[in-house]
Symmetry: C2
Subunit: 471 residues, 2 copies
């Protein structure tokens, strides 16, 4: 009596104890999914607690989704974890602006949106006429390529062409070391599936391409990061991180680093590879901005010879994001395993886009297009740097090429707040919170100079900044 | 002395002991990846064994890839598991013919190959002219769709059209319950990433589409299976398997099951859903052959109302495998999570293929094309059944439509051996070993009737069978 009396109001600890007992019952395979749980009365007797304690525990477990209640029938083990979610780890007001927030807005097709924060060129800068011409030729000659699956490794002539283009950058990758993918993102994702298992530790640059953070969550791996300097990763920090963590993989850009626009120096490249060897770390070199370079920077894959470095490229930024085509250059024994993994998970994609890309690369249109893009970007870069200066926004460095400026906001403004305010004015910005997990990054924005030329954009950004000022 | 003497020839157990000690040293985080291991001399002293024992243990560990040897420098922990491989679990002569073998050969672009074993229609049966016409229109009008990324959920008008088409099959899935993917395979793969974690148990039909087995290996999950009958899964077996295993997910086809061509009956559909509910099992209904049906069969998604059933479709089999486009219909809260997962892992694909598919579905070409395909397939089905009969091959059932015949070989012939012999004659067959892990399946072949009309194919198959007869 006295016992039941002094636990009349269920205490936190007793409820927790009951919840723990039920969780163990479920986890310990003692109950099949859908199996009925011990009744409230029996559980109360078994654990010597009041029924109200058990009721509160069961109610909380139902709310958690660990068990389900069927009116009149009792409580049942749902027996499964909830599905994978990429929702923000820390959904505080400060962190709701994250890689998912960024991607959803950048890909929003609302024509009224302006996107100085997105990661690609305006449609008007892309070779639409060349693509249309290639489409008409494909319509005439394409036959099989209009309806067939791609071959396992991908279009052979395209792989031969890519081998020659990589050789021009000092990367020795004969066609049997190259696999075609549906995009650069799919290439990195396949490599993560190939090289990682849940719980592994991956090293990212800080800041880095925001989607890498979402991709790592999708692979259930731990992320550590190293600050990125104007010459590449901070070597002291890199050595420290590799010493402190069991890092399996490092994902980075060598040339025109996203978002900083920095470029790896030969010396840093050499040291990074030495450290990677000493700590048995593999490296994915994501090089999708290669053709935006004015003069070629060193590539880790060239220094390393595709031993522990895997090289990834794509044409989404240079030709078309609508016609998906990327590639992986790696050890040939790994390429064979990657082909099997690609076939198992996507059946290898279609023959169409690689045929289209091959035609565009070989008819001279691509070279002309990219040389004019590089010139236009250099102009836009100068213009936008000057205009940003007038509203107090300064890039941390002036990149040698490409479309990105990594900029610090004045007066310690919170980039997420500025981005929220700007989005209310139909302007999609790229706040530092999406690119980095560190506090410092929260006052940075990434600008795409090709998408920032519209004269109404920076005034809107300025108003968004004023709005974000603490009163 | 005597000790070191009587272990002069290293004994199995001592070598194993040393290997175990080194493995523990590595696994126990005591040594960072790349860290030097205890020297041979020191290890021999520590464990009181001869140096030759330690040398043999280290050599074996090097062969395993657990440690690496650097000449002159000693031995080092490699510290990582080897990458994921889809290579056959049991690479015996009998099992070398597996899903990977099947896929590699079916996708081989060597024009001299005949492919009665492949899973798609001949290019000549596909609507090449309609696609070419749609391409020319896209070249004229496509503008943004030639260069843009797709929107997060995928082309809105296509999702509206799919909602109407699903409603015709009794599946209530408004556009916000639909996400466009790059293919049916990518759709199932995304759902597995969303719903499964390594070590989960997945239920497959036996036999089932061979690539599901490869896909499950890629997800590191356990597979259990239930025999497929002419009316759907064997209910007694299903109840037994769900009782014996903690099954998370069941992947199946409802109409024109691959490879048997069987079709789910309404009663079996009801019972399957009841059992799934009782055991809290989710279901992926892969319905990519829907438009090959002569009259509509019941769909699990229609009975269930997208509660625990997720519906998947694609146009790779009906329009073009070169222009990739599939979709997922599911609970709208899950669609939102799946959109994030798709963006993280593929950045959502391109706007091009869904635009092309939408144009083909709406200009009437698709309806005309599919009605003529259904007629041609019905003809081919009759012809091929008669021709197979003349060489002693009999289908287990005559499907109501589609392209597949699941056939038993005469005299207990081994399908893998017949397939190897036929491949030497440039004929790609689909042996039971790729579709099932059970012994019985090893005497079955799947025939694609549309790909079996060439008069030289069955004579070649007959010779491959004769060759496979035990002397």
């Amino acid at each position: 009596m006295s016992l039941s009396k002094n636990i009349a109001e269920p205490s936190q600890t007793r409820v927790d104890m009951v919840m723990g007992a039920v969780r163990r019952q479920i986890a310990g395979q003692h109950s099949q999914p859908g199996a009925r749980l011990t009744s409230i009365r029996a559980m109360a007797e078994r654990l010597g607690v009041s029924k109200s304690t058990v009721v509160e525990a069961y109610d909380r477990l139902v709310a958690e989704g660990a068990i389900t209640s069927r009116p009149g029938a009792g409580f049942f083990a749902s027996g499964h974890l909830p599905p994978l979610s990429l929702a923000p780890v820390d959904p505080s007001a400060h962190r709701d602006v994250d890689p998912v927030w960024m991607t959803r807005r950048a890909l929003n097709h609302d024509a009224s949106l302006m996107k100085p924060g997105c990661g690609w060129l305006p449609a008007s800068w892309m070779p639409g006429d060349d693509i249309a011409r290639a489409l008409r030729r494909l319509a005439r000659e394409g036959d099989g390529h209009l309806v067939d699956y791609a071959s396992p490794h991908g279009l052979a002539p395209l792989r031969q062409l890519l081998a020659r283009r990589l050789a021009d950058r000092g990367i020795e990758a004969p066609p049997q070391h190259i696999m075609i993918t549906e995009s650069g993102t799919q290439a990195v994702d396949l490599l993560c599936r190939f090289l990682l298992k849940p719980g592994d530790t991956v090293l990212l640059d800080d800041p880095c391409y925001f989607n890498f953070h979402a991709l790592m969550r999708a692979h259930r791996v731990n992320v550590v990061s190293v600050p990125y300097t104007p010459n590449g990763p901070d070597l002291t920090q890199l050595e420290h991180v590799l010493g402190a963590h069991r890092v399996r993989l490092y994902i980075t850009n060598s040339a025109l680093h996203n978002p900083t626009g920095a470029t790896l120096s030969p010396v840093v490249a050499h040291r990074v590879l030495k450290l990677a060897e000493a700590h048995d770390v593999l490296i994915i070199e994501d090089d999708i901005f290669a053709d935006f370079e004015q003069e070629p920077a060193p590539r880790l894959a060239a220094f390393d010879g595709l031993d522990r470095v895997i090289h990834v490229g794509s044409f989404s930024k240079t030709l078309s994001a609508a016609v998906r085509c990327g590639f992986i250059a790696a050890r040939s024994d790994w390429i064979e395993e990657l082909v099997d993994l690609k076939l198992a998970t996507s059946f290898g994609g279609g023959a169409f886009s690689s045929d289209l890309v091959f035609r565009l690369l070989t008819d001279g249109a691509y070279r002309r297009h990219m040389s004019s893009v590089r010139t236009r970007l250099a102009d836009a870069m100068g213009k936008v740097i000057r205009q940003l200066h007038t509203i107090g926004i300064e890039p941390v460095l002036e990149p040698k090429g490409g479309m990105f400026l990594w900029c610090k906001l004045p007066g310690g403004l919170d980039a997420a707040q500025v981005a929220r305010n700007a989005f209310a004015r139909s302007v999609v910005l790229a706040p530092g919170q999406a690119f980095s997990l560190r506090e410092e990054a929260c006052t940075f924005l990434r600008f795409n100079v090709a998408q920032t030329l519209d004269p109404t954009i920076l005034p809107a950004v300025e108003r968004a900044m004023l709005q974000a000022h603490p009163e």
